[in-house]
């Protein structure tokens, strides 16, 4: 079949809201874009365990420790759902992980910021997971079947993440003067990086129509970011805290919050590897991979040993 016909059938399916499945024909650019987006998303889940893992041993109570452990475990699961989804497009797991370790593949820049106090764990749950959820809810309807299914699973688990984060901050916001200050400080440090999670302005991006046309994505960066600001600007009032932006103001005309400009130099700097923890994060991943090598090898050797053996002489006889 000529390429244009295949492309037409493909686009007709997308337009009719029929999901694309692994064995269906798809344009190379669609495959490539999905591989890049899904694997970067997977890496984000995996690297995202590091800043939070930092506090597992130092959580203020057994209850908080158990909750944080469960959350970090969920993130590992999310990474695995997504790696599997990426694999259905023809990449190998090994290659995908190698690309992370070599620095070729990226993950969300937000995880290159440090978790300095316990309140940061609250801020991550509330703001970082909150921002991620907006994106992920939209991706539940993405056109590639395995990606959409992974997202549905992830979204079901994600809402506990945001709620536990908000609860941590809420408890701190009712605590001592120091606890309140810690809560505000964490919000101050995590607010702008959270806004950056949605990516550059729509006006900065070319070829955005293609992604929308293919229904990989259904809302623009700025649209999602505005949803996020509107949501958080209300929730922060419950905490009795402030978002670190003097331009933040309800706009009666647009029925949305106005807000200040993001520091895009910082954004690009962190994407390019110069954030506070880029080096540390990648090193931690590589170390885990290296130090786990003997376990992987032992398991493979054990599996090999237990495989039913070909009866001796069977091959020679044949």
């Amino acid at each position: 079949m000529p390429l244009q016909d295949l492309e037409k059938i493909f686009q007709d399916k997308i337009d009719a809201e029929i999901k694309i499945e692994p064995k269906d024909w798809m344009p190379e650019a669609y495959r490539k874009t999905n591989i890049r987006q899904i694997s970067q998303h997977a890496h984000s889940e995996i690297v995202g365990m590091l800043p939070e893992g930092n506090w597992i041993t130092r959580a203020p109570s057994l209850k908080r420790k158990a909750i944080l452990l469960a959350k970090v475990q969920d993130e590992a699961g999310h990474g695995l759902y997504l790696y599997s989804a990426a694999e259905t497009l023809g990449t190998s797991r090994e290659q995908t992980i190698n690309d992370l370790h070599s620095g070729k593949a990226k993950y969300s820049s937000i995880f290159n910021y440090p978790t300095l106090t316990w309140a940061d764990i609250g801020a991550i749950g509330w703001l970082v997971d909150g921002a991620a959820i907006l994106n992920q809810v939209m991706l539940c309807r993405t056109s590639y079947g395995p990606y959409a299914r992974a997202m549905v699973r992830i979204c079901k688990e994600e809402s506990f993440h945001q709620r536990q984060g908000f609860e941590i901050l809420w408890v701190l916001s009712k605590g001592t003067r120091e606890q309140k200050a810690m809560c505000q400080d964490a919000i101050n440090r995590w607010w702008w990086p959270s806004l950056m999670m949605f990516g550059p302005h729509d006006s900065e991006s070319t070829n955005s129509e293609q992604s929308m046309l293919w229904k990989i994505k259904r809302k623009s960066n700025d649209e999602l970011r505005q949803n996020f600001v509107d949501m958080i600007a209300e929730q922060v009032k419950v905490l009795g805290m402030k978002l670190p932006d003097d331009k933040l103001k309800w706009n009666e005309q647009t029925r949305h919050y106005d807000f200040g400009e993001i520091n895009w130099d910082e954004f690009w700097n962190v994407v390019k590897g110069n954030g506070p923890c880029n080096k540390e994060r990648l090193e931690a991943r590589k170390k885990a991979w290296e130090e786990g090598k003997w376990v992987r090898e032992a398991a493979a050797a054990y599996a090999e040993k237990r495989k039913p053996q070909t009866p001796k002489g069977a091959l020679e006889a044949a």
Binding site: E21, P22, K23, D24, E28, A29, R31, K32, T33, I35, R36, Q37, S39, Q40, H41, S44, A70, Q73, D74, G77, L80, Y81, S84, E87, L89, G90, T91, S92, R93, E94, Q95, D99, K104, A105, K106, Y107, S108, A132, R149, R153, E157, M197, F198, G199, D202, S205, T206, N207, S208, Q210, S211, K217, N221, V271, G273, R296, A299, Y302, A303, R306
Partner: protein, 126 residues
Amino acid sequence: MNYLKKFYYGDIPEDKGGSNELKDSSKVSSSGGASDWPLWEVFIRSKQGLDHKHAGSLHAADAQMAIENARDVYTRRMEGVSIWVVESKYIHASNPDEAKSLYEPAEDKIYRHPTFYDLPDEVKHM
């Protein structure tokens, strides 16, 4: 060809430092690189009395590890009472390109559906 430049959370474009090389896109393989553990498909029975349903896939060295990993990856919230795993390479699938001819025999047999039959209104419970 010029690929998408727009990026989103978890999607940083290649020209800005994000990239992911495609090994061989013509082959949608399930086996992966040589040093990867094999890929397994996971099926989960969510409740006694229901069918096992495909939940996803994962890598494991052997069947026992696949079941244990499946428990950790797919049943963290008691989503299952029974797990099946099968190495992905043993799954045979119908070809989507042949879907039309494969399912064609059923297309013109509407008499297989109960609604095809016109019965008098007096007939109850049928």
